[in-house]
Amino acid sequence: MGRVRVRVIVDKGTSVFDGVYLSVARGAFRRYSTYRAATVAGTVTNTVFGMILASTMLALWRARPGLGGYDAAQAVTYIWISQGLLVTVAVWGGGFQDDLQARFRSGDIAVDLYRPVDFQGWWLATDLGRAGYQLLTRGALPMLAGAALFDLVLPGDPLVWAEFLLAVALAVVVSFGLRFLASITGFWLHDSDGVRAAMAVVSMFFSGMLLPLALFPGALGELARVLPFSAMVQLPADVLLQRRTGTALLGLYGFQLAWGAALLALGRAGQTLAVRRVVVQGG
């Protein structure tokens, strides 16, 4: 599977340098677009899980109509939105993490560290490229399948869709920040599998992937709403279901931005600390 190589000619000056991240992102987009069978298989998986969870939501809403301020159609729509976001936002982990992990194991991580580009920026660019491709395929296709199988309430106004896309982009940044932190534990632990597995379960629960956060009672609900995970699924879904509109949207974006910036800064600090004491595997 072709790893995308981007040659950087440093002495050509900053104009080339600025374009590096863009071409890294474009390369990642193209790379993922070559895994066609994986895309088809993944879309089927998302659709299967969407059908299962939508059925359980319908059963719950039949018992409790209007629960959490959603009607049954909105609750089902929520599930299909979250299935569309699962891989795009990498709630379950993955994306650049798999590449990074392989590079920890092989020792290639040393090559990444002496590239004349920013380590964190490089991987963020690949992840945004990946997310772009997956939004178009594993985001859109299960949603279309859901719309064919169930009654969904989706907005007709293109402006709401644009607002949704912005929220998804910020969600990817927050998710990247969290996954980057989980992955760089590999500098110390050699194997970040355990940390990643734990992160995946916590993300699934607190992002609202399995159940809208409005259904979390009391203090658990309060906690879920302030943790960064809510920025990954619950908030973009709120935008598309128009539970937050107008000026309330600014607060929502602000929350995503604040967590995104804080996590990236934390990741950068961790990286600085790690690089100082890194011992490269292999040779």
Binding site: A37, A41, I52, A59, R62, V201, F205
Partner: protein
């Protein structure tokens, strides 16, 4: 196979022994860092409870989901999770088949004097997967005490039989679905749709789903035999499809058919395999 084929029983015994030897090697390598393993197992067990917490949260808002109580749904959740978790511990690694076909490292396994399937199933054996199993047994223990059921001997015996057959069915699904990767290397996720997707379906009462889907799990991919059908007998509930009572006791037969189908798929896949030659 290098071991002389003295009949099916001897060959199966050798396959199990190979699996055990390779698994033992991975366990020893994990146990080199005992504290790290203990911590990650404990963390994994605790964290998989979040999965069950979703069910608890749903039942915080309603006393019954599609006519089933929390204890009954907990029984379904636990039995489905035990069967999937045990199968994942035993043969879950076969999902890595496509990667081996692509990189050509399956060849190495084929020339070793041990069955390729046993090697593949034991590859990178991860004890951490026991965490989910521990959690599932804890939920099962709780649901058995919480259920309002008259525990006659047939019902008591049904529980271990159900877990055993369910594990065999999921093992067969893991192996059978991974065979798709002989032809379609990147399609590892299709396996997830059947195994993890299937286990998720079985965690909820059958009455939650459309009748067509439930019928599909009886006559198509035989998931219903893992826990839905036998649970109808244990819990004393009526069948939403109105099938004859014999179906509730047919899990061993379904498991045997699954193993047969998976074995045929594996053979067909291995015959069709062309090495990448690298």
């Amino acid at each position: 196979m290098a071991e002389p084929g003295r009949g099916t029983a001897a060959r199966a015994g050798w396959a199990v022994r190979s699996w055990w030897l390779i698994t033992g090697m991975w366990i020893r390598s994990t146990m080199a860092y005992r504290a790290s393993f203990a911590l990650s197992l404990a963390a994994n067990t605790l964290i998989t409870f979040l999965d069950f917490a979703v069910l608890l949260l749903m039942f915080a808002h309603t006393r019954q989901l599609a006519g089933w109580t929390l204890a009954e749904t907990g029984f379904l959740y636990a039995t489905s999770s035990v069967a999937l978790g045990a199968a994942n511990v035993l043969v879950g690694s076969v999902g890595g088949l496509g990667e081996r076909v692509r990189s050509g490292s399956l060849d190495t396994m084929l020339i070793r004097p041990a069955p390729a399937l046993a090697q593949l199933a034991a590859e990178r054996f991860s004890l951490r997967r026991l965490g989910r199993l521990v959690q599932a047994f804890a939920v099962l223990g709780w649901s058995l005490t919480a259920l309002d059921v008259h525990w006659s001997w047939d019902r008591v015996l049904m529980v271990p039989a159900l877990l055993l057959c369910g594990t065999v069915i999921f093992c067969a699904l893991f192996v059978g679905c991974s065979c798709v990767q002989f032809w379609w290397g990147e399609a590892a996720e299709l396996q997830n749709a059947v195994t993890y997707g299937g286990a998720t379906v079985l965690q909820y009462p059958p009455t939650v789903f459309a009748k067509e889907l439930v019928a599909g799990t009886v006559f198509g991919v035989p998931l219903a035999f893992v826990n839905w059908l036998p649970a109808l007998h244990v819990l004393g509930r009526t069948d939403p499809l109105g099938l004859p009572a014999a179906f509730r006791f047919a899990s061993p037969l379904a498991a045997a058919l699954c193993v047969l189908a998976a074995g045929l798929a594996w053979r067909a896949g291995l015959r069709a395999y062309r090495s990448t030659g690298s």
